[in-house]
Symmetry: C2
């Protein structure tokens, strides 16, 4: 992408509305614009990261055998009356009346609707196990929306729902999602730690929150440092195999808990040097809730014995839009964002120090073509802005690499290559710089 | 994808609710489920087609220089008061009140919001031209939603907005979108004909509807048959060049008009043998409306002369979810849907006539692996369903190719290859069948 043709409204001043660093940086980097309290437009740069995160989650869901569909944003109130949650949900549910006075709501989650879909088509255990997921905008009418995408009202979430004949099957389905979540967050460059959680309004007996450590986290967390070194299955993981050993290692070998369920006595058993008290950001949650929805909503399947029983369900959420905030909270410095490679909006920024200079233009164009065809998605700053402004903007938006091309370097046969994360700069010939990036 | 692991609830009976063929076929093929009047869940098969259509539109928008962002579904009522449309829009606008009694609405279109975004960041002609687009769910509270996705309430639309300093620039921007639309619809296997249109509630002077011919179309159309043979620019089209000759050829060489603006006298000038009276489905619309929004909303840019003036705008919509219906209306037979290759949910269906037979399983697995690695996205029916049911379901869901593998054929060294569109069947060795499919 050539910057002159892009839409990247970088701000020099920090907007007063932003209280936390991810919100400040997203506004300054031209990623986000508030359109109403807790409701944002995703400007092109922010949108690209959103799509990258979404795609990683999609790939890992698919790999784990989940099937994607898409439920609408609006739902019938009557559907939520079937489960009993319509009245329970309170003021966070955005209730809507249409022109014919029908009661609708903007879905905050989809347990009811997916149960309704399942019961309409599935009657036999032979169709099981099934895991259906979607990635869709949801709405929670927060009393006090704040912290940008971390606590917005309209937010993008991946929610998956598993259906099994019995608890054994449901536990295997839970384990598949647990492992898929470990993989998702790792691919995004995050250390996300599963912690036993209360299940809250979703209900159920077994639940884990996946927590990213960050000083600005919303909740206190307590953990054994050694949990950070546990291995995460590779992409060859066998989702048809037994994943219980992986889940057991992550859930019972070392202590990890949010403050809600913290057990000081058990934490004291962790060697003192390994005890970590920190703050964390929840980026995903898994729930097993059995027949909480299938029973009142009569989603039953017949087993091999011909007997009908309510299907055993679980649900599994990832906060896609919230993850942008979490990643920035976990990866930034004074100059701006430092995107992990896998979610960076562009792989490399090309900075021309003298647009219009024939040699500089030729070197930039050649780098742009080579990086584009290598799939690196370069952002090429060929504008008339001064070098200082270009450097600051490129650091702010946090692309993994910067390739800086000017007449003085070229006279010596060199360009400059900067790695954003380490700040390391090297002068080297263009072909070597390209080889280092495409590496 | 292995069918046993997929979620494809094909129906034998046609649901009574469906009045037109695309709606019937989408319900029967397990693509769609109604969740409220005009509000649908996209089941996995429907979702895959939706994503393919969306991706074609995205690629053509990007090629034409438009930049993608994403605006939220909910908007502030006050924003629409700035343009004067809040009161004008009438009962089709879904008005919402949140917990703090703030007035919101579910966006039916985004002229106001994109103008607000533009004016917040752009002040100078140097940033122009710009074209910003998004692909987002929208809501129109239709009095009588019907015809499935053709006239739903919650629908997916691509809407692009162009910004230029003057009318000359705006006309060039209009032409780029016009050509991109020709390319989009052609890639989807459609003949979509641009017709001069009234601009309706969007406003403006210059507008074209892109109309797909179909017997079930919502509006009458009149055209010169020769317009169907006009060339469409290839993917090497130069969007920085002069596209006026292309647009002129499509808009003034041959007659084409919807009934709203039909001019019988001018139509009579078309040679009688070339006159076509038909019905059509609108799948896209382009508008140039100048300063209709920029003036009241004060989105001004300074020109090279330093004088500020309202930016010249256009908007360009494609009904992504509606296109599924339009494509099916234009491409089906008695047995079901016939997907054009570019939008087919899977490229080929593999039908095992005897799962469990070692030779059949081995041939199917080998075909499945080969087609998967060739990027053909096979759907492999390895279920215990009877052959007749498998054939009917595969015809119904309309994949371009069927590869039928059974013990009798294999004994002779053959499999059967069927092309869905022509119905042509051939017996041939598996490697030749794979070669024919991967072409």
């Amino acid at each position: 992408m050539r910057l002159s043709r892009y839409f990247l409204p970088v701000l020099k001043e920090t907007p007063a509305e932003a209280q936390i660093v991810s919100h400040r940086l997203m506004l300054r980097a031209g990623m986000l614009r508030q359109e109403a309290a807790g409701i944002y437009a995703w400007l092109p740069l922010g949108f690209r990261v959103l799509r990258k995160i979404e795609q990683i989650v999609r790939e890992e869901m698919d790999r784990a055998g989940a099937v994607e569909l898409l439920m609408p944003t609006l739902q019938l109130a009557d559907l939520w009356r079937e489960s009993g949650r319509y009245e329970d949900y309170g003021a966070e549910m955005l209730r809507i009346t249409d022109r014919h006075e029908r009661e609708l709501l903007y879905g905050p989650t989809n347990e009811e609707m997916i149960t309704e879909i399942f019961r309409a088509y599935v009657r036999s255990y032979k169709a099981l196990p099934k895991n259906l997921y979607h990635i869709q905008w949801k709405f929670r009418d927060e009393q006090r929306p704040r912290f940008g995408v971390m606590r917005g009202r309209e937010f993008l979430m991946k929610d998956a729902y598993s259906f099994d004949l019995d608890e054994t099957g449901a536990k295997a389905a839970y384990n598949r999602m647990f492992v898929a979540y470990l993989r998702c967050f790792k691919r995004m460059g995050l250390s996300a730690i599963p912690m036993k959680a209360e299940s809250g309004p979703i209900g159920g007996e077994l639940s884990h929150e996946f927590i990213v450590l960050a000083q600005t986290g919303e909740s206190g967390v307590f953990l054994d440092r050694r949990i950070l070194d546990l291995p995460i299955p590779g992409e060859d993981v066998d989702y048809d195999g037994d994943l219980e050993p992986v889940v057991t290692a992550w859930t019972s070998r070392f202590y990890a808990a949010t403050e809600d369920v913290h057990d000081a006595a058990r934490f004291a058993e962790t060697p003192e040097g390994e005890r970590v008290t920190a703050r964390g950001i929840e980026v995903g949650q898994t729930f097993f809730f059995g027949d909480k929805y299938s029973k009142p909503m009569k989603a039953v399947v017949s087993g091999p014995d011909g007997v009908e029983r309510p299907v055993q369900m679980g649900s599994y959420g990832v906060g896609i839009s919230r993850l942008l905030g979490a990643i920035i909270e976990a990866s930034h410095d004074e100059a701006g964002i430092i995107w992990p490679d896998a979610v960076a909006p562009f792989g490399v920024g090309i900075i021309s120090l003298r647009p219009g200079d024939a040699l500089v233009d030729a070197a930039c164009e050649s780098a742009y073509a080579a990086l584009t065809s290598a799939g690196l998605e370069p952002l090429y700053d060929e504008t008339d802005e001064r070098p200082g402004g270009k450097f600051a903007a490129m650091d702010l938006i946090g692309l993994p690499w910067q390739l800086i091309i000017g007449p003085r370097g070229l006279a010596e046969g060199n360009v400059e290559l900067k790695r954003r994360a380490s700040g390391e700069r090297r002068s080297l010939p263009l072909d070597q710089a390209l080889a280092a990036i495409t590496g």
